[in-house]
Symmetry: C2
Subunit: 390 residues, 2 copies
C-alpha cells in the first residue's frame, strides 16, 4: 500500500478507516491544519476518496489490509464504528495509536456493552434488558409495558436495527436471527420523551475535553433531519446536567476524539442516554459554520493530542438541515437555486449518488431569528432534494 | 494526462493552474461545495498537490500541457498570474472557460497595461510613466521629484520587481535589463500615503459582484504581514469610494473570480490604486474565518457562475497575521504551543518547507477588542515562525 506524502515541518499523517462523509469532512480542516489525511476507503469513488490525495481501497475487516494502511499513519481514527475489535487489537500490538481505542469504541459498537457500562456507572438510561427468548421479552414487557423498543446490539444506524414492538409476535424473526448470530437482543422501555437532545464533545489522550452547547435533534423516520444549536428553551441547569453526563462518560470510557451522546429529554426536564457515537456525528454538523471550532477540526486535534479549539458558537442560533436523497439525481441545478435564494446559506455536499433517504449533504444557517433560520434550512434542504417545486 | 474523478449529480470540475497556497486553500471549500478540483502543479510536493486528489505535474508555460490539463475541466482558473497570454488564447480557441479571461488577466500581469487602462477610465492612480532611457527617468523625476518608485511591469510579487530610486544611477542596471527584455520600466511617484488598504471582491460571468469590507494591510519589507478587517477608522464615505473603485474596475475589465485592489490612502482620506490581483489574495485570508463566505469559496462560486455568497463579517474585527519562514524548520511543535495559548485562534498552514521570508501560513482571530486581537495574531505568527522565545 503506497504511503501518503507528508508535509514538511514535522506534521503528522492521520489515517481514517472508512471513506464516508465523516472522513470527507475532515479534509478541509486537515488542509488548514497542515496535516495529511489518508483514508482507507471501501471504493475509489467513495465520498472521502473524492476529497483527499491518499485514499487506498481496502476492506476495514481485513487485518492485514488495515495493518498495512496503518503503517503510513501516525494516528488511526474512524469514519464509522464497524471495524472489528480483533483488527484494532492487531493495530495496538503493532504499536499504532488507535483513537478512540478498541476498549472505548466497543461501547459505541455494542449497545449491550454500552448499557451495562453506563448503568454500572449510574448514568441515567432507559430501563433495559438483554433478551434471547420470547420469555425474556414477556418478562421485560411485564416490567415496562408495551410497546417496547428492540435493538440489535451491533451494526445499526439511522433507524436501522431498531424496532418498536407492540407484542412478542413482532419480535419472532428478530429473536430467531439473534439466536443465529449467537447474541441477544437489547430491549429498552419506550421512553415517553418530549424531544431528543445531544451532547457533542471532544476529548484528547491528555484528558483535555471541550463540549459544544447541547443541541436539539429532530428525527424523521429514524433519520436525523434537523439540528438546532443550542437546544431551544433548555435550562442552564439541564444543559449542565446533560453536558456533565457526556464529559463523565468520555472520561470513564477514556474516549479520544469527538463523541456524541444522544439523549431523550423527559417531561420533567431530565434526560436519559439513548445512544453513543465515538466519531464526528450528524448532531455536530452545525459546528462547521456555527462554532469557532467545528467538529471535524476538533476531532483531528483531539486524536493528535493537539490542544483543543474553542467550541464557542459564532451566532445565537445555528440550524442544520440534512439533505436526503430524493427522486432527482441532478443536485447541481437545485443547489444553484438555493444559493441564489439565500446568500448566507452554507451548503455541504458529500459527493454521493442519490438514493432515496440517503444522507447526501446538509445545510447550515446562523443568525438571531430561530423561526426564520428553521424555515430557511428546511426550504434549502427540501429544494436541493427536489422535494419542493415552486 | 489522467482526468480527475467527477462527483455524481452534475457537479463540475474546476481546474487551477499553479500549485501554491491559493490553490491549496480552495480545497476545503471545494469539498464542501461538492466540486472537484484539479490542480496543474509545478511539483508533486507543491502546497496544493498535498491537498487535492488530482494534481498532475506540468509547466504552466507549455501550451500543450495546459491544453491537455484543461480538457478534464469545466472551468480553468489560476493560483498565480504568470500564465502566458498565448497559452490562455489557445485555451479560448479550444472553447475552454478561462476565468478570469486573458484580456482581464493582462491587467494584473502587466502593470503598464493596468496603469494605462485605469488612467483612461479616470480611476485615481499615482502619477506614472513608462521609461526606457535615463532621459525618460529624469523627465519623470522633474515632474514628481525624487525618490520615485520603479517597477518591472511583469513578474513581480511580494516586493520583488519594485525599487525605490533616489537618483537615476539607481536605475542603470534596471534600465539595461529592461532594454534586454525589450519592454520599458514603469515609474511611479512615491505616494505620501498614510496607510495601505485593500478592496476585495468577487465578480461572476453573469455580472453579479460582492465586495467584502475594505481592509487595512500592513507590509513589512514589501511583504504583507498583517491585515485588519475592516480597516480601522475608515469613514463610511471613504469605504464606499474605495469599494466603488473596485467594483468599477472589475466591471470595466470584465473580471471573473476574486479580485483584489491594493490602495494607498493619503492624508486627506482619498485613495489611489497601487496594484491589482485577479485571484484570491493575501488581503482576503481573514475572510476564511471572519466572513460568512470566505474568499476561496467565493472564488469557486464566481468562476462557476454560481450565485455569490454573503461577504458579511461574522465579528466586529478579524485580524490576519502572516506566518513567514524563519530559522527553524519544525513548525509542528510551535504551532502546538499557540493552539494551547489561544483556543480561538484559527491556524492555516500551507504544507511548505521553511525558507526565510517565505509565506508558509497565516493565523486569523476574530472578536471585539482590536488591540487584543492584533497582539494575539502577532504573537501566534511570531511564535510559529520561531521568532519568539519565551
Amino acid at each position: 500500500m503506497s504511503e501518503p506524502q507528508r508535509a514538511p515541518g514535522g506534521f503528522p499523517v492521520v489515517g481514517i478507516i472508512g471513506g464516508g462523509q465523516l472522513a470527507r469532512m475532515c479534509a478541509g480542516p486537515a488542509v488548514e491544519l497542515g496535516i495529511t489525511l489518508s483514508v482507507l476507503t471501501e471504493a475509489p469513488d467513495a465520498s472521502a476518496a473524492l476529497a483527499v490525495p491518499s485514499a487506498p481501497v481496502g476492506a476495514h475487516t481485513d487485518v492485514e489490509t488495515v495493518r498495512a494502511f496503518a503503517r503510513g499513519c501516525d494516528v488511526v481514527t474512524f469514519d464509522h464504528e464497524h471495524v472489528p475489535t480483533a483488527v484494532l487489537d492487531a493495530l495496538l500490538e503493532d504499536g499504532v495509536a488507535v483513537r478512540p481505542g478498541p476498549q472505548a469504541l466497543l461501547h459505541a459498537q455494542d449497545k449491550l456493552v454500552m448499557r451495562e457500562a453506563l448503568t454500572a456507572a449510574g448514568v441515567p438510561c432507559p430501563r433495559w434488558a438483554a433478551a434471547s427468548t420470547a420469555e425474556d421479552v414477556t418478562d421485560f414487557a411485564a416490567e415496562v409495558g408495551w410497546p417496547l423498543v428492540a435493538k440489535t446490539p451491533r451494526g445499526g444506524y439511522d433507524g436501522k436495527g431498531v424496532l418498536v414492538a407492540h407484542g412478542v409476535a413482532d419480535l419472532e424473526d428478530w429473536l430467531a436471527r439473534a439466536a443465529d448470530r449467537g447474541e441477544p437482543l437489547l430491549l429498552e422501555e419506550a421512553v415517553p420523551f418530549v424531544r431528543e437532545v445531544a451532547v457533542l464533545l471532544a476529548r484528547s489522550p491528555s484528558g483535555q475535553a471541550a463540549a459544544w452547547p447541547v443541541v436539539e435533534t429532530v428525527q424523521t423516520e429514524g433519520i436525523c433531519t434537523e439540528v438546532i444549536a443550542p437546544a431551544p428553551g433548555l435550562s442552564e441547569e439541564a444543559a449542565r446536567r446533560a453536558t456533565a453526563i457526556g464529559l463523565d462518560v468520555a472520561a470513564m470510557l477514556e474516549v479520544t476524539g469527538v463523541m456524541a451522546v444522544e439523549l431523550f429529554q423527559l417531561e420533567d426536564g431530565s434526560v436519559v442516554v439513548n445512544e453513543l457515537a465515538m466519531r464526528p456525528h450528524n448532531s455536530g454538523h452545525w459546528s462547521m459554520d456555527g462554532a469557532v471550532t467545528g467538529q471535524f477540526e476538533q476531532h483531528l486535534r483531539a486524536v493528535l493530542d493537539l490542544p483543543l479549539g474553542s467550541p464557542r458558537p459564532r451566532a445565537p442560533w445555528t440550524v442544520m438541515g440534512n439533505v436526503l436523497g430524493g427522486d432527482h439525481p441532478e443536485l447541481y441545478p437545485t443547489y444553484r437555486h438555493v444559493m441564489a435564494r439565500d446568500p448566507e446559506l452554507k451548503v455541504h455536499l458529500y459527493g454521493k449518488g442519490v438514493r432515496p433517504g440517503r444522507k447526501i449533504g446538509h445545510v447550515n444557517v446562523s443568525g438571531e431569528d430561530l423561526a426564520d433560520l428553521r424555515e430557511r434550512a428546511r426550504h434549502a434542504a427540501d429544494y436541493i432534494e427536489g422535494a419542493v417545486l415552486e
